[in-house]
Amino acid sequence: MVHVEVMNLTTRLSLLEEVQQQSELAWDEFSAIYSQLLQRWLAGEGLQSTDADDIRQDVMLVVMNEIVHFQHSGRVGAFRCWLRRILANRLMRFFRAKGRSGYTNDLSIVADELFSDDSEVSRNWDLEHDRFIMMRLVESLESRFSHQSILIFKRVVLAGEDASLVANEVGVTLGALRVAQHRVLQALKTLADGLVAT
């Protein structure tokens, strides 16, 4: 697999686009990240782990079947909103089928709130989504770039350290540092495009 898409040497399509083009590799990466996000979120809302498993699987199944048809409106957070509605829908169905057995709180309220765009639950979901996805995408870059490039990126871009200082410590020219920093940042932007509101 020695090929690079013609458009740009360092960046590919966004993860979302790759998934929509039915790349199996991208789907594996995507589903690993989103399954984890859903699991964490559902656990955070107090669902028992077997129930959370079921709902997560249901949601991922819908996403898998429908993502090809998902059209990004260009509006900020269109994707996480789409996902949030699927999640709300599945939660609702789950509680309709199961009732409140085993739960002291009425969790269908959470589902209701999740439907509404400006509820507290939705705002938290949005924030949690962006934070988690971004973190995992940064992690996924680590397998795509050399340790050195990643280190430069973290120190200069994330931590805002002085570039000349970092270049000195790492032992590269300032120009090489700028190239590395730029490439990793571009790759992250491309990867995150459409998934995380930026």
Binding site: V2, V6, H147, V157, G171, L177
Partner: protein, 638 residues
């Protein structure tokens, strides 16, 4: 090229605008490469680079705030280097063996395969970008993986062909071995064909052209494989992901990781190397690690002998199957066998019949279907025997296709230039196609005629015998000389003379209508002039066939005009006298001078009811449209 932005020295520098485009990610691949290669070594440019871009970038601002609050309370806006570094404690400043070697500097991991991973790397000596393949950390320590890896490097290096990457360097260093090769830029055949099938689904234009382009790429792949076979090398892992189509249409076959020298032709490689690439049954446990890895992604493209693990049966025809599977995917959008897991797929490869491409794509040319299936026979002896033969077949189909397209285009333009009305209809009968003469001469949009009955525009009084005409046509005979009035857009009718000829094997009828409106009108004028003449007249040819009679003549002889037209004029004479009259007539007609001198001639005529009566005839001869016609003016003698 550009105005240098740091002009203190005489060296060339990218312009400030180029740097801005680069920072925004808007430079194309090659310009980006040039700029980055320059920036790495240019102190002046690095220092002059817009410093504040990072702080201005809303993406970075958002990123910093998102990640900062990941492990901290949200109200704390400050980001320290420790906080962020803690997320990647594994990232240390390392000087690995590649940096130590100085020349090849891996930069970006772009792909991972069975045993190796591929990096974009910089050749610091020649300042160019290359591809570097090294062992994957997980399997690097396994000796058989190392051997396989080196085997791949040597085989790739040995195959000197435009469709295969060139190897620049090989460093053998146990688990740190790597080799360096051309960086192939382009789009995988997989993504090209996926795009094509998406186009087909959404009914976008340009489909045929794209299919032909994909088929040409396939031929290049087959030729590359044929070359490898000529060098006694089998690929064994052909799939559309392993084929890259470059910007200029150049095709490269990648991933010779499973390639192996053919049995009995250990050409240039020691027999010992062979076992690394082709595990024998004894060796299976070691080989299966990598084989398994290779199988997982690609059983859909595997030949039955591979799926069954009959490694002794793997030969060039195994690659023929692989080529056919790629062709299948080009034609249908899917691999010949798919399933939810590798075992199911392999089971299907062994036991299930291949679904013909034609069953998935009903409008596929049958010849293409057959060529493709010719590579997908489970028994090797029934497949195409060589990749070259396979490529030849498709190439010759493409050639006929191209010449047919040229002929079609030429024919189409001739049809469109014609002033005659043309249409093609089917058995229903409904119009399938009409030419643009319909627009030019009658004002009808040819496309609006499609689906209508072929005589939809014909005057209702002229369609009486059309059903009979259709019957004649469907028997396979040509029908001609049908005079019909055809409606024009302004409500007027024009006369056309139609000829129709069936093409039975296609189940269609081609018709062509010549405009005879002016001709018919002239004839009508001429008829009404003759009818206005007080005496009976008959117009005949040199052969004495009646061409026209006026009203006075039909009244005199008691015949309908239609019963006389095209008959011999002798029907007007008593039977006994016909032979003699014919001879006299001949003389009058031939020798126009005689008729002019002799004036009236006496004859006997016979009415339809049998009554005989004496008459005189005056002859005059005239030339109409190259034909000599004789006008006989007849007067009854009372």
């Amino acid at each position: 090229m550009n105005k240098p932005h740091a002009p203190r020295d005489r060296q060339w520098h990218p312009s400030r605008q180029e740097y801005h485009l680069w920072l925004r990610g808007q430079l194309d691949g090659s310009r980006q490469q040039v700029l980055e290669d320059h920036l790495r070594s240019c102190e002046a440019c690095a220092v002059a680079l817009p410093q504040d871009r990072l702080e201005e970038d809303p993406f970075v601002a958002n990123l910093r705030s998102l990640l900062a609050c990941a492990d901290k309370p949200t109200n704390d806006e400050s980001v320290t280097s420790e906080a962020c570094l803690s997320m990647a404690d594994s990232a240390e400043i390392t000087t690995d063996q590649f940096v130590a070697r100085k020349r090849w500097h891996p930069e970006l991991l772009i792909g991972t395969g069975g045993v190796g991973e591929v990096w974009i790397a910089v050749d610091t000596k020649l300042n160019r970008t290359v591809a570097l393949k090294k062992l994957r950390r997980e399997t690097a320590h396994i000796e058989s993986a190392q051997r396989r890896f080196l085997n791949e490097a040597r085989i790739t290096a040995r195959l000197n062909h435009p469709g295969i990457v060139s190897v620049f360097d090989l460093v053998e260093d146990g688990s740190h071995s790597f080799y360096v090769m051309t960086l192939v830029r382009g789009q995988s055949l997989k993504s090209r064909l996926t795009q094509y099938h998406r186009q087909v689904q959404s009914n976008q234009g340009g489909r045929e052209r794209e299919l032909l382009a994909l088929l040409r790429h396939w031929i290049a792949v087959a030729r590359t494989i044929a070359f490898a076979h000529s060098q006694y090398v089998l690929h064994r892992d052909l799939k559309s992901e392993n084929i890259v189509v470059g910007q200029f249409g150049q095709v490269t076959v990648l991933d010779w990781g499973l390639a192996k020298p053919m049995e009995g032709f250990a050409h240039g490689a020691k027999q010992g190397d062979d076992s690394a690439a082709s595990p024998t049954n004894k060796d299976r446990s070691a080989g299966s690690i990598t084989l398994q890895g290779a199988r997982i992604g690609t059983p859909s493209f595997m030949a039955p002998e591979q799926a069954e693990g009959r490694s002794g049966d793997v030969d060039p025809r195994t690659d023929v199957w692989g080529l056919a599977a790629v062709l299948y995917e080009i034609l249908t959008g899917v691999a010949p066998f798919v399933g939810s897991n590798a075992d199911d797929v392999m089971d299907a490869v062994i036991h299930q019949p291949v679904v013909a491409p034609l069953d998935l794509v009903p409008d596929l040319p049958t010849a293409l279907n057959e060529i493709c299936m010719g590579g997908l026979r489970k028994e090797r002896h029934r497949r195409f025997q060589t990749a070259a033969e396979f490529a030849d077949q498709l190439e010759s189909w493409m050639a006929t296709q191209t010449s047919r397209r040229i002929a079609d285009t030429a024919r189409q333009s001739l049809f469109e230039m014609s002033d005659d009305l043309m249409m093609v209809f089917d058995h229903r009968p409904a119009v399938l196609w009409a030419n643009s003469a319909w627009q030019r001469s009658l004002g009808w949009d040819p496309n609006a005629l499609v689906g209508q009955r072929p005589n939809a525009m014909v005057h209702p009084d002229d369609t009486a015998d059309d059903d009979e005409v259709f019957e004649v046509l469907y028997r396979g005979e040509t029908a001609s000389g049908m005079k019909r009035r055809t409606l024009s857009h302004d409500g007027q009718y024009r006369w056309h003379s139609w000829t129709a000829t069936p093409i039975l094997e296609e189940g269609i009828v081609c018709t062509i209508g010549r405009d005879i409106d002016a001709e018919i009108k002239r004839q009508r004028e001429y008829e009404s002039l003759l009818n206005a003449f007080p005496e009976a007249m008959v117009v005949m040819s040199r052969e004495q066939t009646i061409r026209f009679v006026n009203v006075q003549l039909t009244e005199l002889f008691g015949h309908e005009a239609s019963a006389l037209i095209d008959q011999s004029v002798s029907v007007l004479w008593p039977e006994r006298l016909r032979a003699a009259y014919a001879a006299r007539f001949m003389r009058y007609i031939r020798e126009r001078a005689v008729s002019a001198r002799d004036g009236n001639h006496r004859f006997f005529g016979v009415r339809k009811d049998g009554e005989r009566f004496p008459l005189t005839i005056r002859f005059s001869t005239t030339q109409v449209d190259e034909e000599w016609l004789t006008v006989a003016t007849i007067r009854r003698i009372e």
